[in-house]
C-alpha cells in the first residue's frame, strides 16, 4: 500500500507542477499579449486613474480634470473650450485624442518615460507618473482677438512670431467645445454625433488642416522669386503688361479688379494687386525658380509638425505656362493653409528667413520643473535679405496707401497684402477673403508678429468681399494685441 500511496502522492505533485507551469505561462510568458488585448480594460483604467496634466496658455491652464468617481475616473475639462479647441483638440475616453492632447499625450497622461525619476524606475515600482504640463507659445490676448474677430464668420487666423516661429494665435471658426466629448457616456456620443453632422464642420481646424487658394497674398511669393531671380530689378520701371492679359498658349483673358494695371510698375501692381502683372512675372521667372521659392517658403512640405501635423500647402510642380501664370497669382492648384501664409508674411518680416513654426514652448513635470524646451527649429532662407527689405517696404505701402489700409496701426510699422481668392466651378463660389501682414511696434527692433487671416463666407455681397475689407481688421486686432503685450 505504501508504494501506491507514494504513487498517488507523486500524481498530486504532478498536478501541482502543472498548475505552477501554467501560471508561469499565463502570468509571465503570455502576459504581454494579454495586456495588449483590446478587450482588456486595464490600460484604460490606469490611464484615467489620475488627473491629466494641463495645457497652459499665458501661464494659466486652459484645461482641467474632473473626478467622476467612475471606473474611468478622471475626465477632461476645458476653460474657454471653443477658443482653444484648434490648439488643444479634445481628450475623450470614447473617441481618443487630437491635436496637442494627442501629440503630447505621453506627457499629459503621465506615460512618457521621461517623467520617471530614474530610468526603468516605473517598470520596477509599477507606478504611473503624474501627468506633466504642456506650456504653449500662444498669446492669450492675440488668440482672443482673433477668435472675436471671426465671430459670426467662417474662417481661420494664424499668427507667428517671425524671429522664432512661435505660434501666437491659432483660431478656427466656427469652433466647438471639446468638453462634452470628454466622458464615455451617452452625452459624449450625442455630442460626437452632433458635431460630425454639423454642416459647418466645427471640428475642422481651418488654421492648419484646411488649405485654401491663397489668391493675391501669394503675390508676395511670386515677387520674392522674381526679385531673387533678377527678373525684376527696378520696382518702379513700367512692366509693359497688357490689360487684360491673355494667358500664354490659351485664349483665356486674365483681368484685374482694379484700374491702372496696364503697363504698371511692380510697385503699383503690388499695391493695386494686379493679376495681369504678376501672372506675367511668374511666367517670366519660370516654373523651376517659382517652385524652388515656394518650397523654401514651406510649400509642398508634407512633414510640417507644430507638433501635430499641418496639412501640406501646395504649389504645383508640373505646369504649362498658362497654369504657371495662374498659379503665380495664387489660383489653379496653389493652395495654402492659413499657417503657411503666416509663415510667408513672417519670412518677409524676418529678413527672408523662414522659421519653422511651433506651438509647445516647453513641457514640465507636475511640480513645474522643466522636462523639455522647444529645441532649435529648421531655418530656411526663402529669399535674399535684400529682397526681404524691398518686399517689406512694398507691404507697408499696401497698408499705408493701398488695399490694406484697414490694418494700419498708429505708431507702428505694419506691412500687409490682401487677397481675394476665387474658387469653385467657374469661380462661382463666394470668394475667400485673405489678409497676411506683419507688424513692428514703435520701440521694437524687428517685427513682432506675422498674421494670416482667411474668411470663407463673409456675409457681405460678393463683389464687396475682399481681403482688405473683411480680413484686415481681424489681422489688425491680432497684431495690436501682440504689440500691446509685454
Amino acid at each position: 500500500m505504501t508504494r501506491h500511496i507514494r504513487h498517488a502522492g507523486f500524481f498530486c505533485a504532478l498536478l501541482l507542477v502543472a498548475l505552477l507551469v501554467n501560471a508561469a505561462r499565463v502570468q509571465v510568458v503570455q502576459a504581454p499579449a494579454y495586456d495588449r488585448n483590446p478587450a482588456n480594460r486595464r490600460p484604460d483604467i490606469a490611464r484615467y486613474e489620475q488627473p491629466r496634466g494641463d495645457i497652459l496658455v499665458g501661464g494659466r491652464p486652459v484645461t482641467g480634470s474632473k473626478d467622476t468617481r467612475e471606473h474611468l475616473r478622471y475626465e477632461r475639462t476645458y476653460t474657454d473650450g471653443p477658443l482653444y479647441a484648434p490648439v488643444t483638440g479634445f481628450a475623450s475616453q470614447l473617441y481618443g485624442t487630437t491635436l496637442l492632447e494627442h501629440s503630447e499625450d505621453g506627457i499629459l497622461s503621465g506615460s512618457d518615460p521621461m517623467l520617471a525619476p530614474f530610468p526603468l524606475w516605473n517598470d520596477f515600482t509599477r507606478a504611473r507618473n503624474s501627468g506633466g504640463d504642456v506650456v504653449t507659445t500662444l498669446d492669450p490676448a492675440a488668440q482672443r482677438a482673433a477668435y472675436e474677430g471671426l465671430a459670426g464668420l467662417k474662417g481661420a487666423v494664424a499668427a507667428v512670431e517671425p524671429s522664432t516661429g512661435r505660434i501666437l494665435a491659432l483660431v478656427s471658426r466656427p469652433s466647438y467645445d471639446p468638453q462634452p466629448l470628454s466622458g464615455n457616456g451617452p452625452a459624449a456620443a450625442e455630442a460626437w454625433r452632433r458635431l460630425n453632422a454639423d454642416r459647418d464642420r466645427p471640428m475642422l481646424n481651418r488654421a492648419i488642416r484646411q488649405t485654401y487658394p491663397p489668391g493675391s497674398t501669394f503675390k508676395v511669393v511670386t515677387l520674392a522669386a522674381a526679385l531673387d531671380a533678377g527678373v525684376v530689378t527696378d520696382l518702379d520701371a513700367p512692366t509693359d503688361s497688357p490689360d487684360p492679359y491673355t494667358l500664354p498658349g490659351t485664349r483665356t483673358r486674365l483681368t484685374n479688379a482694379s484700374r491702372g494695371c496696364r503697363n504698371a510698375s511692380v510697385r503699383e501692381a503690388f499695391t493695386l494687386s494686379c493679376n495681369t502683372v504678376f501672372a506675367r512675372l511668374g511666367v517670366a521667372v519660370g516654373a523651376p525658380d517659382m517652385t524652388a521659392t515656394a518650397r523654401a517658403f514651406g510649400f509642398n512640405n508634407p512633414a510640417l509638425r507644430v507638433p501635430f501635423p499641418v496639412a501640406r500647402s501646395t504649389f504645383d510642380t508640373s505646369l504649362d505656362r498658362a497654369q504657371l501664370g495662374l498659379s503665380s497669382i495664387g489660383q489653379y492648384n496653389t493652395r495654402a493653409t492659413p499657417l503657411q501664409m503666416a509663415m510667408v508674411a513672417a519670412a518677409v518680416a524676418n529678413g527672408g528667413q523662414v522659421r519653422e513654426p511651433y506651438l509647445v514652448e516647453r513641457t514640465t513635470r507636475p511640480g513645474g520643473s522643466i522636462l523639455a524646451t522647444a529645441g532649435s527649429r529648421a531655418v530656411r532662407q526663402a529669399m535674399y535679405p535684400s529682397t526681404a527689405v524691398r518686399l517689406r517696404a512694398l507691404m507697408r505701402e499696401v497698408v499705408e496707401d493701398g488695399t490694406g489700409w484697414r490694418a494700419a496701426i498708429r505708431g507702428s510699422k505694419v506691412g500687409g497684402k490682401t487677397g481675394t481668392a476665387q474658387h469653385g466651378r467657374r469661380n462661382s463660389g463666394t470668394p475667400y477673403a485673405w489678409f497676411i501682414s506683419w507688424a513692428q511696434g514703435e520701440r521694437d527692433l524687428a517685427p513682432r508678429v506675422a498674421v494670416a487671416v482667411v474668411v470663407e463666407d463673409a456675409e457681405a455681397e460678393r463683389r464687396n468681399i475682399s481681403g482688405g475689407g473683411d480680413a484686415a481688421p481681424i489681422a489688425r486686432a491680432v497684431m495690436e494685441a501682440v504689440l500691446a503685450s509685454r
Partner: protein, 454 residues
C-alpha cells in the same frame, strides 16, 4: 541528560533509543502567530492602498482571527498533542488570506458585502475543527459509521434537487436566508465511506474475482456497493449540473481504489471511463459544451465583438499580475464580474500578488496535501491511511480543478477554492478536513513515539 553526562563512565549503558518525534507544539503556535500577522498585514495593505489609512477593523479582524486560531491551537495541544504542526497554521493562513481577498473585493462592490458572512462561517468552521479534535478521540471510531456516512452523503447530495436552481446549478439549499451547499459536506462523508469500505474489503477486492485480460475483476458482491454509491453520487451531480464535484468524486474514487488494491488497471479503467464520460457530457450537455469551447478559444467572444467573457477577464487579471503583482487592493479583477469572490477568487490573488504570490498559495496547498499523505504513510492501519490519502487527495484535486480552470489549463468547472473562496459550506467543510487530518496525523506520530503502538 547533561547531569548524567558527567558520570557517563559509571552509568548503565543507555537504554535503546526509542524513536521519538518531537511534538513541536511551540512551532505550531509560532506559525499560527505568523499566519495571523500575515493576514492582518494583508488587511492593512488593502486599506493603505485604497484609502491611505489602516482600515478601522484591522485590530478587530486580527483579534478575531487570532482568538479563533489560538482556541484551535489549544484544542490541538489538549487532545492531539502529537499532531503535525503545519496543518493548523496552513488552514489559518489560507482562511485569513481568503478573508482579506473577499474584504478587498467587497470594497469594489459596495452593495454586496461578503466578508462579514465569511467571517461568521470561518468561526463556525474553526468551531467545528475544535469540536472534531475534542470529541473524536480516535479516527477509527469513524469506521463504525460507514453506512451512516454514505446514507447522509446521498441524502445531502439529493437534497438540492428539491430546491430551485441558482445560476444554472442545483447545488444550493436555502435555509433561513443562508444558502448551504450540501455537496461540500457530502465529500467528507463520502471520503470516510470510501476509506472505510475499501479498508474493510481491500483483500477481497485485490485477490478475489475473475481475471479478464490483465485486470483482476473483483466479485460483484464486493465491488457492487461502492460502484453503486459512486454511480448514484455522480449521476445526481450531473442532474444538478455540478460537474466539478462529480469530477472530484470520480477522482477520489479512482485514487482510493488504486491505493487500496494496488492495481494499476484501475487507473486505466478510471481514465478510460473519465474520457468516455467527458466526451459524452461534452457532446450532450450544452452547458458543458460551452465551457469546453470557451476553454479552447477564450478570446472568441472578443473576436465576435461580444466583449471579454469571464475566462478572458480572468486571464487578463492573471496577466496583469505578472511576476510580482500589482499589490493588494490595486488590481482590477472585479472586472470579472459575477463569481469574482467565489469561483474566480484566485484571479484576484494572481493579479494582486503576482506569480510569486500565486506560487506561494499553490505551495501552501501542496504542503497541506503533502502533510496529509505523510500522515497516511506513517499510519499502520489501512482505514487511517486511506482516510488521510482520501482527504488530502480531495484538497489536491479540488485545487487543481478550480485553479486549472481559472488559469485556462483545463475547462472551467464551478467550484470553491478551499479556504479562499466565498462560501460558508466550503469553509466549514475544509476546516473539518483539516481537523480530521490533524486527528489522523496525531495517531500517526503517536504511533512512532511508541506510546500508542498498536
Amino acid at each position: 541528560m547533561s547531569k548524567a553526562g558527567i558520570t557517563v563512565a559509571t552509568a548503565d549503558p543507555p537504554a535503546p533509543a526509542v524513536r521519538r518525534l518531537p511534538r513541536r507544539r511551540g512551532i505550531e503556535l509560532a506559525l499560527i502567530v505568523l499566519a495571523v500577522l500575515l493576514s492582518v498585514y494583508g488587511y492593512c495593505a488593502v486599506g493603505l492602498a485604497r484609502n491611505g489609512t489602516v482600515p478601522p477593523g484591522a485590530a478587530g479582524y486580527g483579534a478575531g482571527l487570532g482568538v479563533l486560531a489560538l482556541l484551535a491551537h489549544l484544542a490541538v495541544r489538549l487532545r492531539a498533542p502529537h499532531a503535525d504542526p503545519l496543518l493548523l497554521p496552513i488552514g489559518v493562513l489560507l482562511n485569513g488570506l481568503g478573508l482579506v481577498l473577499i474584504y478587498r473585493l467587497d470594497l469594489e462592490t459596495p452593495g454586496d458585502r461578503a466578508a462579514p458572512a465569511q467571517l461568521v462561517w470561518s468561526t463556525l468552521g474553526v468551531a467545528l475543527f475544535i469540536l472534531v479534535v475534542l470529541v473524536l478521540r480516535d479516527h477509527r471510531v469513524l469506521q463504525r459509521y460507514t453506512y451512516v456516512c454514505v446514507a447522509a452523503a446521498l441524502v445531502l447530495l439529493t437534497l438540492p434537487i428539491l430546491f430551485p436552481a441558482v445560476n444554472g446549478a442545483r447545488i444550493w439549499i436555502r435555509v433561513a436566508g443562508f444558502s448551504i451547499q450540501p455537496g461540500e459536506f457530502a465529500k467528507v462523508l463520502l471520503a470516510v465511506f470510501f476509506a472505510a469500505y475499501l479498508a474493510a474489503n481491500r483483500n477481497a477486492l485485490a485477490y478475489t474475482g475473475r481475471r479478464v485480460w490483465r485486470l483482476q475483476l473483483p466479485t460483484g458482491r464486493v465491488l457492487g456497493p461502492i460502484v453503486a454509491v459512486w454511480l448514484v453520487s455522480v449521476g445526481v451531480l450531473i442532474l444538478e449540473r455540478d460537474l466539478g464535484t462529480s469530477l472530484l468524486f470520480f477522482g477520489l474514487f479512482v485514487v482510493l481504489l488504486y491505493v487500496a488494491t494496488g492495481r494499476t488497471g484501475w487507473i486505466a479503467v478510471g481514465l478510460l471511463l473519465a474520457a468516455l464520460g467527458a466526451v459524452a457530457v461534452g457532446r450532450l450537455e450544452p452547458h458543458v459544451h460551452g465551457r469546453i469551447e470557451t476553454w479552447l478559444h477564450p478570446f472568441a467572444s472578443i473576436e465576435a465583438g461580444e466583449g471579454a467573457n469571464q475566462l478572458a477577464q480572468s486571464l487578463f487579471a492573471f496577466a496583469e499580475g505578472g511576476l510580482l503583482g500589482t499589490g493588494l487592493g490595486l488590481g482590477h479583477s472585479v472586472l470579472i464580474g459575477f463569481a469574482v469572490k467565489s469561483d474566480f477568487i484566485l484571479a484576484t490573488a494572481g493579479e494582486e500578488l503576482g506569480f510569486a504570490g500565486l506560487s506561494a498559495v499553490f505551495l501552501l496547498y501542496g504542503l497541506l496535501v503533502e502533510r496529509g499523505y505523510r500522515a497516511g504513510l506513517a499510519l499502520r492501519e489501512p482505514f487511517g491511511r486511506l482516510l488521510a490519502v482520501g482527504l488530502a487527495s480531495l484538497v489536491a484535486l479540488q485545487v487543481f480543478v478550480i485553479a486549472g480552470g481559472v488559469t485556462g489549463l483545463i475547462p472551467l468547472t464551478g467550484m470553491a477554492m478551499p479556504f479562499l473562496a466565498q462560501g460558508g459550506s466550503s469553509v466549514v467543510t475544509n476546516w473539518a478536513i483539516v481537523a480530521l487530518l490533524v486527528r489522523v496525523s496525531d495517531s500517526a506520530r503517536r504511533q512512532h513515539d511508541g506510546q500508542d503502538g498498536r
